[in-house]
């Protein structure tokens, strides 16, 4: 179980959080202008790196705030967080 440093509450147990997948996926401004495969790319395609991963978490059973985490998928070490403000 990870110990996740919530930018608002400090380090808390993983089971207080919900994982939100890859961070920095920007919703297309004009979805209608996209082809099926461009839209599918936004919808479904996610990175699966060996090493540093930027991901979203929300402190569900805490402050309910979303934030970004930089985590190493090999060591699970959390090297940075961003409170999105």
């Amino acid at each position: 179980m990870l110990l996740i440093p919530c930018p608002w509450c400090g380090p808390r147990e993983e089971n207080e959080f919900t994982y939100g997948g890859e961070a920095d996926i920007v919703r297309p401004v004009e979805p209608d202008s996209l082809t099926d495969s461009e839209w599918a790319n936004y919808l479904f395609m996610r990175k699966n790196p060996r090493g540093l991963h930027h991901e979203q978490w929300v402190h569900t059973f805490g402050c309910r705030q979303w934030f970004n985490v930089q985590r190493d998928t090999v060591t699970y070490q959390i090297t940075a967080t961003d409170n999105l403000r």
Binding site: M1, L2, P28, P31, D32, R64, W66, T75, L84
Partner: protein, 1005 residues
């Protein structure tokens, strides 16, 4: 053997003043406080403790700790029984009842052993090869196999014991209470660290408790005593015995299972049986020790073949005299200590059989000095005896050391003490993400890199002498303290100084050479618990398996509850030999939690029964109970299902509740519907993005039904949202979807739409919602309020009014889920029950009837209204539901919009929501029933859809159903068929899914 005294008259750590009675397979026996079940059995001369899994061969105790793979027992009978316990890990207590596994009627006479006769027909991969075809035959095989295999039986009743859980945060967690662990804990403790040290045994001390040879006996125990009392005096140090660290997880999170009362016979339930420690540590020191490696030779599983270190432990720690005549079979110096221990207590040591051509170590000299024969460059090629060893056959090795030559001869003995070297206990290290490397010096896998804030100390990192262990521990403790910013106290300390004699290197021997070709002689067991032999590994290699992970699964080697603590490294070595490579290249298999089995009860703790999950009740719950309601679980909520009168069946009650709603008036507790208050200048903008329809023109005081989609275009939730003010909305969600929707909105607002100013508050529990339905509902609510005009003109369908109801402030919605004239009164939950009773009071003259969820579901199905999560399953679009009318064509964007015209979503053969009317109006289809359109098609018949909702409709006097059917919208009027479990097939016609009041006149009037 019966005349032999198996218990020494003095010595050991047992308390001869505290005799304990226990039974083994019903026979009464005696042991002492301080015994394990295994030591007590040995002290009673019990040789056969269990039968093996596959061949049902008699098996005795082989080890003395958590590495035991033979002596598996069940403790107790009935609900509190613990199957699958290692006799070596069970502390003896008065009136303990133990039973053998894998044998019937007794381990000495086992009917299942007949299977052993057929063992030639059970090669590795037997299950894969034999039982996978023909498909249907598996059911027959399964029964037979299950009876003949397995590690005991599960208790048949709920566990009566209590289990606790505790969280702990420590500076330094030390796993293992041997010399290395104790030194580490002392050093960190002296620096002021908060330390927790845990050991799986009933006493701290590890090897110090049983090994007289490494230090002089007095020194070891004196130091142990002094160290424990020093630790005891430290306020921040916790010493946990009977506590097994079973798992090392991420970010220095570890699980420890502590036996609190397993070893006490206690009928009272005041203390838990076990306690789960969930520990988060700044720094972890693993001092988990090492496990002696067996040698693999013919018939090496006979009762009486035992690890040399275990022999010493039984002699020194438990005062057991295990034999009359013994031999020691080894490839290293260590085992000579066992020869010395045996000799000291008067056991005749027939010989030490050493595979090395010229053992010249100090211990070997000592043994020779006592006149004990050392057979240099010899090996054991067979073990004689069935239920107990009565001799061994030995042969010389040739000069290469890889084959036997010359003549064999027999040595009489009833004990074979074996040692193939030592395997560091690296399980937790590997679980933490650490890597291993093969160390040719000790011919074992030792820790290499670490991934978390941790260190290894002592023999678990390959430091095999006491001197090294003590030094390792001290250094590790000091480093841990430094790393967490503590200053070391170098002045104090009772540091032991030991000089361990230098040892000659071990000569690795994974498979002892034998005169017979592999597979033709007696079985050479690699993994005792799963009955895997060296020949099995050879067969797997011959059949093309290369990776050790595949060979493990194919042969089941290491797949037992002991996870191959004894056998795995030998398996790796044997595989390396067969493939002409080295153990480093083969690599170790993955180590996974649990280190030793942990009872489910310990993992569950108090989270069982009513404490498993919270239960949510509305403010009217008590009234429902008093009125005889039966309840249905909806998420965590308890909702009244139906309200049967004394003589009514469920069907009767649902019929009555439905008819009252259609012809008179009913009331429903709808408080569980999710409610989210939405405020802020950008609230409308957010709703326009969240819902498929348009919200900009909704007037204040009006409501609108909306569908919410995921970005994939699939239905997420639905509900009615009211506009309470220019920048103020109240959103209703489904009962089960409230939290999901709240999280969904928050996510978009916090991540993608940070420029929108919108505030969300969940108010589900704040309001009690009473839904009053039926043609008489207006007359009932009219009696309850004098400041709200309920007329159709003043208060039209899909609008909201504020006022007072029965004297309390209320929001009243005119919405309906059942297709009748309906009003929803919302009052503060504090007033909930009183207002509910006021509504009933007002409705008595109209025969007002409480409505449960079952009747409500029937009524909404008559209207063709869907329930998200019942009629939809995450793969249904608005179009599939025939609800394109609610999808705005003019809005530029909303969540999921683009997905609605992906090519796959536009396919005409997608499953679409339709109604079904069975040809026989009395037949109610099963929900989930699969639909076919051609009963004469070849098997497997293509499925064209499934039934999502199905009821008997009291008002329509016939059954109705909703279904998702491929291309359903374009085949209205066609016949389909629903095959039932009982072999019958029901025919039905596809119809429009609105069965009642298609124009919606009743709710609008």
């Amino acid at each position: 053997m019966t005349s032999h005294h198996h218990r020494l008259s003095h010595g050991g750590r047992i308390d001869r003043d505290k005799p304990l009675k226990f039974t083994f397979n019903g026979t009464s026996l005696q042991g002492f406080h301080g015994d394990t079940l295994a030591s007590a059995l040995l002290a009673n001369g019990v040789r056969v403790v269990a039968r093996s899994l596959k061949y049902h061969r008699p098996r005795g105790v082989v080890g003395a700790g958590s590495e035991e793979s033979n002596a598996m027992v069940k403790i107790g009978l009935g609900a509190g029984a613990s199957p699958n316990q290692m006799a070596t890990q069970v502390s003896l207590y008065n009136e303990l009842d133990a039973y053998s596994l894998n044998c019937w009627p007794s381990p000495n006479f086992d009917i299942g052993a007949i299977i052993g006769v057929f063992s030639r027909f059970m090669p590795p991969g037997f299950y894969y090869k034999t039982f996978m075809w023909p498909q249907n035959a598996w059911r027959i095989y399964e029964g037979v196999i299950k009876r003949a295999s397995g590690y005991g039986t599960a208790p048949e009743a709920p566990d009566p014991d209590r289990y606790d859980q505790i969280n702990a945060h420590v500076d330094v967690l030390v796993i293992g209470g041997g010399p290395a662990g104790l030194s580490a804990a002392l050093e960190a403790g002296r620096a002021g660290a908060r330390v927790l040290i845990a050991d799986e045994q009933n006493e701290m001390g590890g090897s110090l408790l049983s090994d007289r040879g490494l230090a002089n006996g007095a020194l070891a125990t004196d130091w142990l005593k002094a160290s424990l009392s020093e630790l005891d005096a430290m306020d921040e140090v916790t010493v946990l015995k009977h506590a097994t660290a079973f798992g090392y997880y991420d970010h220095n999170f570890l699980g420890i299972a502590e036996s609190v009362s397993d070893h006490l016979l206690s009928d009272s339930n005041t203390v838990p049986r076990q306690r789960l420690w969930r520990i988060r540590a700044n720094h972890v020191i693993l001092a988990t020790g090492a496990i002696e490696r067996p040698l693999v030779f013919p018939n090496n599983d006979r009762p009486g073949v035992m690890l040399a270190s275990a022999v010493s432990t039984y002699i020194n720690r438990y005062a057991v005299n295990p034999a009359i005549k013994a031999v020691v079979f080894t490839n290293n110096d260590n085992a000579y200590q066992s020869a010395l221990d045996l000799h000291r207590i008067g056991v005749h040591v027939s010989a030490v059989i050493d595979v090395r051509p010229k053992p010249i170590g100090k211990l070997a000299e000592q043994v020779r000095g006592l006149g004990i024969t050392v057979l240099e460059g010899h090996v054991v090629v067979d073990v004689k005896g069935g239920k107990s060893v009565n001799g061994v056959t030995v042969m010389p090795l040739d000069r290469s050391g890889n084959a036997v030559v010359g003549k064999s001869h027999r040595l009489d003995c009833d004990l074979v003490a074996i040692s193939g070297g030592w395997n560091p206990t690296v399980h937790l290290h590997c679980q933490s993400g650490g890597t291993l490397r093969y160390d040719p010096g000790t011919s074992s896998f030792i820790p290499d890199s670490v991934m978390q804030a941790m260190q290894n100390a002592g023999s678990c990192k390959g430091s095999f002498t006491l001197e090294q262990c003590l030094m390792d521990g001290r250094l590790a403790g000091a480093k841990a303290a430094r790393e967490i910013g503590l200053r070391l106290d170098t002045s104090s300390g009772n540091n032991a100084t030991v000089q361990s004699p230098p040892q000659e290197p071990v000569t690795p021997m994974w498979l002892v050479p034998s005169p017979k070709p592999l597979g033709l002689g007696p079985k050479q067991f690699v993994d005792l618990q799963t009955d895997t032999t060296a020949a099995d590994i050879a067969i797997a290699v011959r059949e093309g398996y290369e990776s050790i992970e595949h060979i493990k699964r194919y042969t089941t080697c290491g797949m037992g509850t002991d996870q191959g603590k004894l056998g795995n490294v030998n398996a790796i070595g044997i595989l390396a030999n067969l493939k002409g490579t080295d153990p480093e290249t083969i690599g170790a298999t993955t180590y996974r939690p649990m280190y030793t089995p942990v009872p489910f009860g310990t993992v569950a703790g108090r989270s069982i029964g009513s404490l498993f999950d919270p239960v949510r009740k509305t403010s009217i719950h008590q009234w429902h109970e008093e009125s005889g309601a039966l309840f249905e679980n909806v998420g965590q909520w308890k909702r009244p299902w139906y309200y049967p009168r004394p003589t009514e069946s469920m069907q009767d009650a649902v019929y009555r509740e439905c008819m009252a709603t259609r012809t008179g008036v009913s009331l429903l507790d709808a408080s569980t519907l999710g409610k989210i208050e939405i405020k802020g200048p950008d609230a409308t903008t957010m709703l326009n993005m969240i819902y498929t329809n348009a919200w900009s023109k909704l007037e204040i005081g009006r409501c609108r039904y909306g569908l919410m989609l995921g970005e994939d275009g699939m239905l997420l939730d639905d509900g009615v949202t009211a506009r309470l003010g220019e920048y103020h909305y109240l959103m209703h969600t489904t009962t089960g979807g409230a939290a999901t929707v709240m999280a969904w909105l928050e996510r978009w607002l916090q991540t993608e739409w940070r420029d929108l100013e919108v505030y969300l508050t969940s108010t589900t529990d704040h309001w009690t919602t009473i839904s009053i339905n039926g043609p008489d509902s207006r007359r009932v609510v009219g009696k309850l309020s004098n400041d709200i005009d309920f007329s159709n003109e003043a208060f039209p369908f899909m609008s909201i009014r504020h006022g007072t109801v029965a004297g309390v402030p209320a929001r009243v919605f005119r919405v309906s889920f059942v297709g009748e004239l309906s009003y929803e009164i919302n009052v503060s939950s504090n007033h909930g029950r009183r207002i509910w009773e006021a509504v009933i009071e007002a409705g008595i003259e109209y025969g007002i009837t409480p409505l449960g969820t079952e009747a409500m579901h029937v009524l909404r199905a008559e209207k063709g209204y869907i329930i998200v999560g019942q009629d939809t399953d995450g793969s249904v679009t608005p179009n599939d539901l025939g609800m394109d009318w609610i999808v705005s064509k003019r809005k530029k964007d909303f969540l999921g919009k683009r997905s609605l015209y992906r090519s796959d979503i536009l396919r005409q053969d997608r499953k679409q929501m339709v109604g079904l009317l069975t040809d026989d109006p009395h037949v109610v289809l099963p929900e989930g029933g699969q639909i076919v359109d051609n009963t004469s098609a070849a098997i497997p018949v293509p499925m064209v859809g499934h039934v999502t909702s199905s009821y008997m409709s009291p008002f329509l006097k016939r059954s109705i159903a909703l279904a998702l059917i491929k291309g359903g919208h374009s085949i209205i009027g066609e016949k389909v068929y629903i095959p039932l479990e009982n072999g019958k097939t029901v025919s039905a016609m596809i119809v429009d899914r609105v069965f009642y009041d298609r124009e919606g006149a009743r709710q609008d009037e």
